[in-house]
C-alpha cells in the first residue's frame, strides 16, 4: 500500500493552482517592495554615462563597485554623516528604552488613578505628525539654545518615539503572568528586585522589538529634524548629508545610491544583531496555561 509521507496537516494542503496563486501573490508583493532597492543597487553599479543613455538599460553594462570607492572622495565628510546618524539613533534609542521600560512596566502592572487618561494622551500624541509641530519645536529649541546641536535632533525624536514604544511594550508586559510577581513577593523580593531579576529578563524579546522599532524610527525621522533644527555640517546626519551628492551641475546618481546603501548598512547590522536575540516563547514553562 502506498504511504503518504506528507507531514502537513490537512488545512495546510493546497492544490497545484492554489500553490501557484500563492507564489504569484508573494512575487508581486516582493517586487513592489524591493524594486526601488534593486533599481537603486543596479544604479550604484553603473557608470554615470550609462545612466543617461537611451534606450535605458536596466542591467548594468561593465558594472563595477567603483562608485562605492569614489563616493568617499566626492563627499569627504560622508563618514561623519554616518557617524552622526548612528550616534543620534543610538542615543535616542537608549534614552527611549531607559524611560519606556520602567514606564511600560508600571502601566502594565499597577492600577493608579488617571492611568487610562495618561495612556489615551500618549496615543493622541503619537497621532500627531511631526511636521505639524516643527514650528513650535523650532521656537522651543531656539529658546533653549539647542539649535545646531545633537540635542536638537535627539530630544524631539525621543519625545515622538516614546508614546508608541510605551504602548508596544506595555502590551507585551501585560502578557507576563502576574503570578510571577506574586511568587516573587511571597519569596520576599521587593518591587525593584522583582522587576530586575524576574520581569526584565522575561520582557527582553519585547524590549528588543521596541529597540528595533525605535532605532528605525529614530533613523528615519532625523531628516526632518536635521533639516529644521540644524545648519552645521558637522552635526548633519546621513539623510541630509546625501544632498551633498546633488551638485550644482549634475547629480552623481551612482555615488548617491552607493552612499545610500553604505549609509543604511550600520542600521541593518544593528537590527540583524538585535533580532538574533529575539527568543520566542521565553515564558514557556512559567505557568500552566
Amino acid at each position: 500500500m502506498a504511504r503518504d509521507n506528507d507531514t502537513r496537516t490537512m488545512i495546510d494542503r493546497y492544490t497545484w493552482w492554489e500553490t501557484v496563486l500563492i507564489y504569484l501573490g508573494i512575487f508581486v508583493f516582493l517586487f513592489f517592495l524591493l524594486s526601488p532597492f534593486i533599481e537603486g543597487f543596479l544604479v550604484s553599479l553603473k557608470p554615470l554615462a550609462q545612466l543617461f543613455s537611451s534606450p535605458y538599460r536596466f542591467w548594468p553594462e561593465n558594472g563595477s563597485f567603483a562608485a562605492y570607492v569614489s563616493m568617499w572622495e566626492s563627499v569627504p565628510g560622508f563618514a561623519r554623516y554616518i557617524f552622526n546618524s548612528f550616534l543620534i539613533s543610538t542615543v535616542a534609542t537608549t534614552l527611549v528604552l531607559l524611560l519606556v521600560v520602567p514606564a511600560a512596566y508600571a502601566f502594565a502592572r499597577f492600577d493608579f488613578r488617571g492611568m487610562g487618561l495618561v495612556l489615551a494622551a500618549f496615543l493622541a500624541v503619537s497621532m500627531f505628525s511631526g511636521a505639524v509641530l516643527l514650528i513650535p519645536l523650532f521656537r522651543l529649541m531656539r529658546t533653549l539654545g539647542l539649535l545646531n546641536t545633537y540635542f536638537a535632533m535627539i530630544v524631539p525624536g525621543v519625545a515622538f518615539l516614546i508614546p508608541s514604544a510605551i504602548w508596544l511594550l506595555r502590551t507585551y508586559m501585560m502578557r507576563i503572568p502576574t503570578e510571577l510577581n506574586e511568587a516573587a513577593y511571597m519569596d520576599g523580593a521587593s518591587q525593584f528586585y522583582t522587576f530586575r531579576r524576574v520581569i526584565l529578563p522575561i520582557a527582553m524579546p519585547g524590549i528588543i522589538v521596541v529597540a528595533i522599532v525605535t532605532f528605525i524610527g529614530a533613523y528615519s525621522q532625523q531628516f526632518i529634524f536635521a533639516l529644521t533644527f540644524n545648519s552645521k555640517t558637522e552635526y548633519m546626519p546621513l539623510p541630509v548629508g546625501l544632498f551633498a551628492y546633488f551638485g550644482k551641475q549634475e547629480v552623481i546618481w551612482n555615488e548617491l545610491m552607493a552612499a545610500s546603501f553604505v549609509g543604511i548598512a550600520p542600521a541593518l547590522i544593528i537590527i540583524f544583531f538585535l533580532q538574533r536575540h529575539l527568543v520566542g516563547g521565553l515564558t514557556a514553562g512559567a505557568i500552566k496555561q
Binding site: 520576599g188 512559567a286 505557568i287 500552566k288
Partner: protein, 373 residues
Amino acid sequence: MGQLSLKNVVKTFGMIEVVKGVNLDVSEGEFIVFVGPSGCGKSTLLRMIAGLEHTSAGDIVIDGKRVNDLAPVKRGIAMVFQSYALYPHMTVFENIAFPLRVEGASNDVIRQKVEKAAAILHLDQRLQQRPGQLSGGQRQRVAIGRAIVREPEIFLFDEPLSNLDASLRADMRIELTRLHKQLGATMIYVTHDQVEAMTMADRIVVLNAGHIAQVGAPLELYHKPDNTFVAGFIGNPRMNLLPVKCTGTSAAGVTVDFNGQSLTLPVTPRAGIEGASLLLGIRPEHIRLGAGDASMEIAPSVVERLGQQTIAYVTLPGQETDFFCVVLPGSQSVTVDAPVTVGLMAADCHLFDGDGKAFERRIDLKLLAATAA
C-alpha cells in the same frame, strides 16, 4: 510553631462580600484542606492568609501574632501556586534558590539547601534544566521546592494539582502526604477535588458562599454532615435527598413515611417535628439490590458500568430535575428501563429539616474507623 487563627475574617471586593466572617483555628502540623464550589471564597481566604489580599475585617493570627499588615515573607509562610509560577529564564536550581538569594544567603548555604530540597523532591537530576524542559509534575515539584527552602512554619497550596493529569495527580497526592509527614509543617491546601480533600486532610473546611459550612475530619464530614450542602458536596456521586414526612419520634429515633413504608432512623429527635416535611438522605453506595429496611422499585434511565461498580440513574416521579443515583458493587445485572427492587437500611440514612440542617446521627465514628481498620 505554625499555629494559625482566623478571627471573624471578612473580605469585600467593592460591594461584594466574598468571605463573610470566617473563624478557624489550625493547630501546629495540621493538614487542613479548604474545599467548596467555584466562587465560594476558598482561594481568596488562602490569599488573605498568604498576605496577597488585604483583609477587609477581622484578624489573621499566626503563632499568637496578628499578621494582617505584615508582608508574606514576615509571616513565616510559603505558597505554591496553581499555575506553578516558575521563573522561566532561570534553571531549576535558580528557581529553588530564588527566596534564598532574596534573603542574601551565602552561596554555600544556598547550594546546601537547594540540594537538600531537590533530593526530597527527586529533582537532583534536573537542577540545570529550565522549567520549559520539565513535565507538569516536575514543574510542580520545583514550585514546592521553592517553598521548602524557606523552611516556613506554614505551607499554603492553591489547587496545586489541578493542572496535572489524573494518574500524575494521584502520585503527587501521595508525595505531598509523605512530604507533610517528613516536614511536620502546618499545611493549608485549597482544592475543589474532594478525593484530594478526603485522602490528604487531617481536617476539611467546607466553604459555601463565603461561610464555613462545616469543619471536621474527612470521615466525620462523610458520615455526619451538618447540612444538605456538605452532604451533597462530600461524596461522589452526591447523596440522594428524598422528601419524607415525619410520623413520630421515639427513643429509637425519628420515624418517617417513606413511599408508604414506616422507617425509623437512628437520629436524635427534636421537639415538635411530627408532621413536618423533612429530607431523607441516602448515599448511592448505601443502596443495595433487593429488600432493605425500606424498599423501592426503580427503572434506571442510564446505567454506567465501571467494572469496579455499576452506577444506575433514575428519574423519580416529582423529581424530574434531579437524578436518583444507585451505586452497586461490581458488575450487576441492572439494565435501562428494566424495573428492579432496591433497598436501604435505616442506619445508613441521614435526616435533614426544612432548613437543610442535619439531625444528629447516632453513630460512633471511632467505632466505624475501628471496624474499617
